[in-house]
């Protein structure tokens, strides 16, 4: 192992020599620079690896042969090693990146970079508070200088303000050190921390305030982050990336090192509040930010705020070092990448990002991946970090902090995904950007590191990611990498992969219908198979489609198969983002998918909240959820239910869904509607059921949250169905319809009875079949006609008879009219409602189901019936693959229609496992009976068929011999020659009287609510960010203000007193007693002193 002191000494020495080396030529100095960095990284990384594996112990280094506190000592532990490895890699990448970016290359910039790294090493390693000051200044000064590396117009201004405030910070630090030294008589951090409680004075209290404010400034805490954010805006992003990767982490670590000085609970509160305020407000302000780099600035500030927030938690062993480390790693990797991207695509305003990297697929993928990483989505390290941190918090008294944390994270989604939205490909031709290797390599390296770490984490055995899921995901990954292949080939490969995966799943018995996960896996498999078959006929709009689709399917399998809560949530979030990217591929996808990811994110966080509540109750696995009791169970249930409600687009949170469904690629929409909307249901079932079922009372007073959820489901069914009636966009119509149908499913689950669940499960499958059928067929129609507007179509029955038949079957099934399979679902649901005693809700559901008729008729009429438009006279039937998949789905529907029992009997088994009670009194394949009613599927079907044949025969018998099929326009038209078909097809204002009748309930209240909600959030952000006036002096005033605020209101120290009494508001409170401290990163316990008062050496 390399002596860690060399991490400081070697770069310093080299830096001194570099001006001389430069005389040999710039290439020489660049090589020296590079080798130094390699040495640095290698040394740090070898330490990190060795410490991680435990082959070496953490090392204390003394300098000048004097043990602390006489001499300055350093410490090399895992945290230090990781931070320094990261700094080293950042240094290499930044060096690479900055070579072409420098306006006027100079040896000095290289020296500055080297010194920055040396300073980082010193700041990280040192355990002496004044030494920390020195290294802080080294990093600061090199920062001050190097920020002028690029275009200097804005950088100068930003840098100056930053410097002035930095000057104040160092003054504060120095003041703090002075008073602390006066109080304790030592400069060694550990020594100081050990002595401080006994010697505490008002001066020390003030010193702590000074120290804290200094740290707030250095760590860009609210409200002192103005100049730092200016810096992000004004400075060459490559430089900022370097700073993020080096100094920022080191300063954070320095704060961690001096944290023991701030002993008390009061300080803990202040630090956590400050960190959290920075996190939430930074993210809030960023939402209003149109300048990309400034937005990143707010984001950095926020992220670091989060880390600061967690430091006291780490100290109290609430949060593990690993969690914090992952968060820090993630922030560095992702933020640096994003900064580099802002340098590659040099558009200041977010609006200028349209079509960024359009002809560079690698960069697009990397960019997307970086956004995912920074948003804390799996598999990137941030996800794991956040989970572990939250899990730690949930089990501690700090659980309530999770709330603002999730809020801030959601705000993060708002602006990062808006960025992604804005950077979508536009209609205008993309600019061709030639990106040199040295610019694209750094983000690639960083993203790769993040990915590798993340995927390794996903491989963790505790997550229970099955090899099947991995198979699908790797297939997806390979296909993503092979995106250069022709679309057809990819579609074929993807279909083969799905087929193979499905066969494997089948042969491994994963599709057993009588278990919940088997049932839902079957849904996934059916959906994936049929829709990738249909995809063979309709080419994808985007090359990444197939890979992402497989990834998505794989993530669904994770969700369905895992027993670990973490694995479950990881799968859930994977599903969220893969489906997000798929939705985004539609023509207007970017805007729609933005809403999608926002609401999905919110749903994800609600689910996370629920899971965390469960974790707080001591659960780790899904099967362990059954042990929850009391309020924990109740709130976990409520949060999970709320997440479900948002994710399935229940009334009130539905505004995202129609857009997403309709703008997603046409062949993806059926999967979205048929399969993905079921996953939250499964989640709720698998997770929530365990909580609420085994005899736990889950009522809030007299209010049963299940009843509330039931009403939400019922209202969704009603409201969405009503809205579907007025849609002109056929996909949107079906989208609303899907929402309504899922409303029934939610209603069924809310009933928490065997019959209700049976109904919901059956309806899930059924909905997949008929809505898949409808969406696939519609996709074929859109593919052929190129329009989604119902009023543009008509009379296609003659051109696309198969599609017509498919839609006919689809709508009959959807409407629940016997003899097709839709009826059984309705039948079960109403009986469940009556059984449960929810009469009004049952009637509402009935009403809602009948409200579906108008839109179903509208759908089939406007597309297939009525007058064929002239431009569609040559339309062909949908592609064969689409027709084939239609027939598969029709066959499924027919099977269910004739013999619903084939599915319902296994479902009954699955549900029985929860309730111990069978749903049916009689259940055979074709005949069902419950306590309330009965239903003979085969009988009804045969009756209908026989009757239909008889009537048809009668008609044919009685028809005159001369029966003419008249031509299209030969209709009764008051003796007139009808105008062209375009004019007489009744398609506009289709349900006008209906609309008038329901006008009072049709006001877009929900949309208005969300609009005003988002507007008020934005105006809050707007008002808040006015704080950053851009005036350097104001910022200093803020700093002063914070000092005074802390002194006057939080620590009203009687400054003149030299009270040593512990306790009291100003007193020094001993931190929470700690258990054995594994993976010691903190300050060393004071060594046996050589000082007077200590033991003699």
């Amino acid at each position: 192992m390399v002596d860690p002191i060399l991490l400081i000494a070697v770069p310093l020495g080299i830096a001194f020599l570099l001006p001389l080396v430069d005389r040999l030529g710039r290439a020489a100095s660049r090589w020296v620079h590079f080798l130094t960095l390699v040495f640095y990284t290698g040394a740090a990384a070898s330490w990190a690896l060795a410490l991680h594996k435990g082959t070496v112990a953490a090392k204390d280094i003394i300098t000048a042969s004097w043990p602390p506190p006489v001499g300055i000592n350093l410490h090399m532990g895992l945290a230090e090693a990781v931070i320094l490895s990261l700094a080293g890699i950042t240094g290499i990448c930044a060096a690479l990146y900055l070579v072409p970016r420098e306006e006027k290359p100079s040896i000095r910039s290289i020296v500055l970079q080297v010194l920055l790294l040396a300073g980082t090493a010193g700041l990280t390693l040192t355990r002496d508070i004044f030494n920390m000051f020195v290294f802080l200044e080294i990093t600061s000064i090199s920062t001050f200088a190097i920020v002028l590396l690029g275009k200097e117009k804005k950088a100068l201004e930003a840098g100056f303000k930053y410097m002035i405030l930095g000057g104040i910070a160092s003054v504060l630090l120095l003041l703090g050190i002075a008073f602390l030294y006066k109080t304790t008589g030592t400069l060694n951090m550990a020594d100081m921390a050990a002595k401080l409680p006994a010697l505490f004075t008002g001066g020390a209290a003030a010193a702590l305030v000074f120290l804290f404010v200094c740290m707030v400034i250095e760590l860009k805490g609210f409200p002192l982050n103005g100049p730092a954010i200016d810096l992000y805006e004004g400075v060459e992003p490559g430089v900022m990336a370097l700073i993020v990767g080096t100094t920022l982490n080191a300063v954070l670590f320095a704060f961690w090192k001096i944290l023991p000085l701030f002993g008390g609970a009061a300080w803990e509160g202040v630090i956590m509040t400050s960190g959290m305020a920075t996190f939430v407000l930074g993210n809030l302000f960023a939402t209003r930010q149109k300048k990309v780099r400034r937005m990143l600035g707010y984001s950095s500030s926020a992220q670091v705020g989060l880390l600061v927030f967690m430091l006291p938690l780490l100290r109290n062993h609430v949060v593990t070092l690993a969690a914090l480390g992952l968060l820090l790693l993630n922030h560095t990797l992702a933020k640096a990448s994003l900064l580099w991207f802002t340098g590659i695509h040099e558009e200041e305003e977010i609006g200028g990002w349209r079509g960024a990297f359009a002809n560079n697929p690698l960069l697009r993928i990397l960019f997307g991946a970086s956004v995912l990483a920074i948003a804390g989505l799996p598999p990137f390290p941030g996800f794991w970090g956040k989970w572990y941190a939250l899990a730690g918090m949930a089990r501690s008294p700090y659980a309530w902090w999770i709330l603002p944390l999730l809020l801030g994270s959601l705000l993060e989604f708002v602006y990062y995904f808006r960025w992604l939205k804005e950077s979508a490909r536009g209609v205008e031709p993309a600019r061709s950007e030639v990106v040199p290797f040295s610019l694209s390599a750094p983000p690639a390296i960083f993203t790769a590191i993040g990915l590798v770490l993340g995927i390794r984490a996903l491989y963790g055995p505790a997550l229970g990611v099955s090899s099947q899921a991995w198979l699908w995901m790797w297939a997806g990954g390979i296909l993503l990498a092979a995106a250069f292949l022709p679309e057809r080939v990819q579609a074929g490969l993807s279909f083969l992969a799905v087929l193979l995966g499905s066969i494997l799943l089948y042969s491994s018995g994963a599709l057993a219908l009588h278990t919940l996960s088997g049932f839902f896996t079957s849904l996934v498999v059916i959906g994936a198979l049929v829709f990738s078959l249909a995809r063979l006929g309709i080419p994808a709009l985007h090359r990444n489609y197939h890979g992402l689709f497989l990834l998505l399917a794989g993530s669904l399998l994770i969700v369905l198969k895992t027993d670990s809560l973490l694995g479950f949530f990881a799968g859930w979030e994977l599903m969220t983002w893969t489906s997000y990217f798929l939705v985004r591929q539609g023509k207007k996808g970017p805007a729609a998918s933005y809403l999608y990811i926002l609401f999905s994110g919110a749903a994800g966080f609600l689910v996370l909240g629920g899971l965390m509540t469960a974790v707080a109750g001591g659960a780790v696995t899904i099967s362990g959820l059954g042990a929850l009791r009391g309020n924990t169970a109740l709130w976990a249930w409520i949060l999970l239910a709320a997440g479900l409600a948002v994710k399935v687009g229940s009334w009130g949170a539905h505004i995202w869904a129609p857009e997403s469904y309709s703008e997603a690629p046409d062949v993806f929409t059926p999967f979205l509607s048929g399969v993905i909307s079921k996953i939250p249901v499964f989640a709720f079932l698998a997770v929530a059921a365990k909580i609420a079922l085994p005899g736990v009372t889950t009522t809030l007073g007299t209010l049963d949250p299940a009843w509330v959820l039931g009403w939400i489901g019922g209202l969704t069914a009603f409201g969405m169905t009503l809205l579907a009636v007025f849609q002109d966009d056929m996909k949107k119509l079906l989208a609303y319809s899907s929402l309504g149908q899922v409303g029934y499913i939610v209603l069924g689950f809310a009933m928490m009875s065997s019959l209700g669940w049976t109904a919901a499960l059956y309806h899930s499958l059924n909905h997949l079949l008929f809505k898949g059928l409808l969406f696939v067929t519609i996709a074929g129609v859109i593919y052929r006609t190129g329009t989604r507007s119902l009023s543009d179509l008509g009379g296609l029955i003659t051109r696309m008879p198969f599609s017509f038949f498919a839609v006919l079957i689809g709508i009959i099934t959807l409407s629940g009219v016997p003899p097709l399979s839709g009826f059984a679902g309705k039948w079960l649901l109403y009986q469940a409602g009556i059984q449960k005693g929810w009469y009004l809700l049952t009637a509402l559901a009935m009403f809602a189901s009948i409200l579906a008729f108008p839109y179903l008729f509208k759908l089939i009429h406007s597309i297939f019936l009525g007058q064929l438009k002239r431009e569609h006279r040559e339309i062909r039937e949908a592609p064969k693959a689409v027709v084939l998949s239609q027939w598969i789905l029709i066959a499924g529907i027919m099977l269910l229609s004739v013999a619903p029992g084939t599915v319902l009997v296994p479902i009954q088994e699955a549900v029985k496992a929860f309730f111990g009670k069978a749903a049916f009194t009689t259940a055979t394949a074709t005949e069902l009976a419950t306590d309330l009613g009965y239903f003979h599927a085969m009988g009804v079907m045969s009756m209908v068929v026989v009757l239909a044949v008889i009537v048809l025969a009668g008609i044919l018998f009685f028809l005159p011999k001369h029966t003419t099929k008249v031509k299209q326009l030969d209709i009764v038209y008051s003796g007139e020659v009808p105008p062209p078909p375009e004019e007489i097809q009744y398609a506009q204002n289709f349900f006008r009287p209906f609309e008038r009748a329901y006008s009072p309930v049709l006001l877009p209240r929900v949309k208005a609510f969300w609009k005003s909600f988002s507007e008020s959030v934005l105006s809050l952000a707007e008002a808040g960010r006015r704080l950053y006036t851009g005036d350097g002096q104001t910022y200093i005033l803020y700093a002063l203000g914070v000092v005074l605020f802390l002194v006057l209101f939080i620590f009203p120290a009687p400054a003149s007193s030299s009270s040593k009494a512990p306790g009291g508001k100003t007193g020094y409170i001993v931190p929470v007693p700690r258990k054995a401290r594994p993976a010691e990163v903190g300050v060393q316990a004071p060594r046996p002193g050589i000082l007077p008062g200590g033991k003699a050496k």
């Binding site: 200044e137 002028l148 000057g167 805006e233 002096q1033």
Partner: protein, 126 residues
């Protein structure tokens, strides 16, 4: 009221004066100088903190300082605290470095905007 309090008081007064300059002066050059004053004040404070009236500078140039000549131990009660002095030495140099950098910024800023008024440098905000 001993002399140390005067030193400390002066030092803190200097800090206040400097801060006042930073906060109230519009001229960035003056702000830089004011910051320098603050630093000076802090340096003085450091010295003051180590000072104890009646003790001598920590230079052992007389044998009379020794407590035990053979063991070469010194009677610490005769000397003022050497640590703050060492710290001040470092702090001064660091202050110098910072100031130099600030001044060069001022030069560039002036070249860019032809003004030294801090209010003119508020383009980056919100």
């Amino acid at each position: 009221m001993d002399i140390t309090m005067v030193y400390i008081g002066t030092a803190l007064a200097l800090v206040l004066v400097g801060l006042g300059g930073v906060l109230l002066k519009r001229n960035i050059l003056k702000m830089v100088l004011a910051l320098d004053i603050v630093e000076t004040g802090v340096n003085l404070l450091l010295i003051g903190i180590g000072y104890t009236p009646g003790r001598e500078a920590p230079i052992v140039d007389k044998t009379s300082f020794f407590a035990d000549r053979a063991k070469e131990t010194v009677n610490a009660a005769n000397l003022v605290d050497p640590v703050p002095q060492a710290l001040v030495l470092t702090a001064i140099v660091i202050g110098l470095g910072t100031t130099a950098l600030m001044l060069s910024y001022v030069i560039r800023l002036y070249a860019q905007k032809k003004t030294l008024d801090i209010r003119e440098f508020g383009r980056l905000k919100w």
